[in-house]
């Protein structure tokens, strides 16, 4: 084996790791003062370097029996994760004041980058061992980011809840992996798929996949493994919440789609109405249905905008899993496409919520009143993000949802009633429900008068830049979805 070859294939990861170590060093050297601008500059430079390494790095390669995989798809998603993290950093670390946690900006940034490193590894591997270690790295860094927040008490509770739910999910994931290993004799997804294609499937394999689904369900906050999400989204420091809601979720869907469709296409089963067959598809269908209903209905009752976004995120997990049930190339494309635009929209929404929180000290619906006048850029991008999440044309959310539901209906024999019609009908209904609570927020932003006594929220320069980028991505992709769809399509052709 050639270590140089290995290094050349993991240059983005190395860039992120080195940047994180530099930041840790800066944290030690700077004591509790921590220069905010310097931290932000180093973080942005490191992410930029990593992005360059992805773009100009090797185009394909499969090292160490699938431990390190570089192909068009992994490069695309590594670039997306890096861009989302860059957005999170720029949006949410403005000028060094990191929420109620002054002076720990360097360590916070380092943990953000280490969590990102975990996700990059997860995206770029087909080996269950590396997948597990990468997920654990991301989880541990995020638990710590959540607990680092203001010493007001609530965040640490959220961290504890997050930690226990995450650890139980990790145990289930691991137990599932051990059954998968036992049934196939391998921990390499490609080998597993080959073994499964050649041999009859034993019941312990679906069992293992089912147990692993519990772990993945936690990662994408699908009901009933979602209980950590509202608390964490609400009480985590803004950068951590933004990261969990965007990059972490994108990586979660990427890995769910890859593992289920590539590794275990054989044990899919069927969730078609009247033709249920055991496998992972019915399980995913149940998760999808529960997530859509619980997430969207609970969002109606929320007063805190971040809790509302958390429940809306749970609902969106349901929408995305709906398409995954169909498990064909079209479905994978729709799932990956929608997870990317969901990541962008939710980063924008969390960014604006974070700005309001900083200015007002709370994020109740009333605190957003008058935002349209005091901070037009933030209000505008919030409107774009929420309407895109709601799926209104011409924003990209409409196109993405259309793709998801079309993919879900495309499975099954042509000419008959599509088997997943029940799920898609439910999704459409819940999509309509979601429009109501998004509009509730926007009504406050644009039509409610700003309270006279409170400090108005103002746009910051870095924040405005990210706002503009996120907003233009949402509009541009809505008008020209092929900008992302075509590379995605090309990348998927190599896989299927």
């Amino acid at each position: 084996m050639n270590y140089l070859e290995l290094i050349s294939h993991v240059l983005p990861e190395i860039a992120v790791l080195v940047t994180a170590l530099v930041l840790i060093g800066m944290g030690c050297a700077g004591g509790s003062r921590g220069g905010g601008k310097a931290v932000l500059a180093v973080t942005a430079a490191g992410l930029g370097l990593a992005l360059a390494a992805v773009v100009f790095g090797p185009e394909s390669g499969r090292l160490l029996e699938g431990m390190i995989v570089v192909d068009a798809l992994t490069r695309l998603f590594k670039a997306v994760l890096l861009a989302l993290t860059l957005g999170t950093a720029l949006f949410l670390f403005p000028g060094g004041e990191a929420g109620g946690n002054e002076g720990r900006g360097a360590e916070n940034s380092a943990l953000l980058l280490l969590a990102l490193l975990g996700l990059l590894v997860v995206v770029g591997t087909e080996n269950l061992l590396l997948l597990f270690v990468g997920l654990e790295l991301a989880s541990l860094a995020l638990y710590l980011m959540v607990v680092f927040a203001a010493p007001a008490g609530r965040p640490a509770e959220a961290a504890l809840r997050y930690f226990f739910f995450g650890s139980v999910a990790a145990a289930f994931l691991l137990f599932g992996f051990s059954f998968i290993y036992g049934a196939t004799g391998s921990i390499d997804l490609r080998v597993i798929a080959k073994v499964l294609a050649a041999h009859p499937v034993e019941p312990i394999l679906p069992l293992g996949v089912g147990l692993a689904l519990v772990g993945f369900g936690f990662k994408v906050a699908a009901v009933p493994f979602h209980l950590w999400a509202p608390d964490v989204y609400q009480s985590a420091p803004a950068p951590a919440a933004g990261f969990i809601a965007s990059a972490s979720k994108v990586a979660g869907f990427f890995i769910v789609a890859k593992v289920l469709v590539l590794g275990f296409g054989v044990v899919e089963g069927s969730a078609d109405w009247g033709a249920f067959a055991m496998g992972w598809a019915p399980l995913v269908a149940v998760l999808a249905a529960l997530s859509m209903v619980v997430g969207n209905l609970a969002a109606l009752a929320q007063q805190s905008v971040r809790r509302l976004l958390a429940y809306s995120g749970i609902g969106h997990s349901g929408f995305i899993l709906t398409a995954l049930v169909a498990a064909n190339a079209e479905a994978v494309r729709a799932v990956l496409f929608y997870s990317v635009i969901y990541g962008v929209a939710s980063l924008a929404a969390f960014g604006v919520a974070g700005c309001v929180l900083r200015a007002r000290g709370a994020d109740r619906l009333e605190d957003f009143a008058g935002l349209g006048r005091t901070a037009p850029a933030a209000a505008g991008v919030l409107a774009l993000a929420l309407l895109s999440l709601a799926g209104l044309p011409p924003l990209v959310g409409f196109f993405g949802k259309f793709q998801l539901f079309a993919a879900a209906l495309s499975g099954g024999t042509p000419g008959t009633v599509p088997g997943l019609l029940w799920l898609v009908a439910l999704a459409l209904l819940m999509s309509a429900v979601s429009l109501y609570y998004y509009l509730r927020v926007l009504k406050q932003v644009f039509f409610a008068p700003a309270p006279a006594d409170a400090a108005p929220t103002r746009d910051t320069s870095a924040g405005t830049a990210v706002c503009l980028v996120c907003g233009s991505v949402l509009v541009l992709l809505g008008l020209f979805p092929s900008l992302v769809l075509q590379p995605l399509q090309r990348a998927l052709v190599q896989l299927f």
Binding site: F132, V147, E157, R161, F163, A171, S178, G185
Partner: protein, 101 residues
């Protein structure tokens, strides 16, 4: 009667279920923590057992890494619990976390 993989899996499965039961039922965060470790140990036992009966080494290598990761997880978890205790002076779960979703 020879001991086969099914016996290993019975022990592992029972241990996992006992751990899960403990996580669901116990109220002291540290006991919940211990139960969590039982679940992890059960998963590792299954891996070692499969490694033995499949006669491949991957399972054993996997377990070696899990032990290392679990050590890090314990450090982080206990750090969170101690940090919480210093603020709230309790380690009882229901006094720390209100269980409404």
């Amino acid at each position: 009667m020879t001991i086969g993989i099914e016996h290993i899996l019975a022990v592992s499965g029972l241990l996992f279920v006992i751990g899960f039961f403990g996580v669901l039922l116990r109220r002291n965060t540290l006991v919940v923590f211990m139960s969590l470790e039982l679940m992890l140990n059960a998963a590792m036992l299954a891996l070692v057992g499969f490694s033995f009966f499949n006669a491949t080494m991957e399972g054993n290598v996997f377990v070696l890494f899990i032990i290392a990761v679990a050590a890090a997880e314990v450090a982080v978890g206990l750090a969170i619990i101690v940090a919480l205790f210093r603020r709230r002076h309790t380690v009882q779960l229901e006094e720390l976390v209100s269980l409404k979703g």
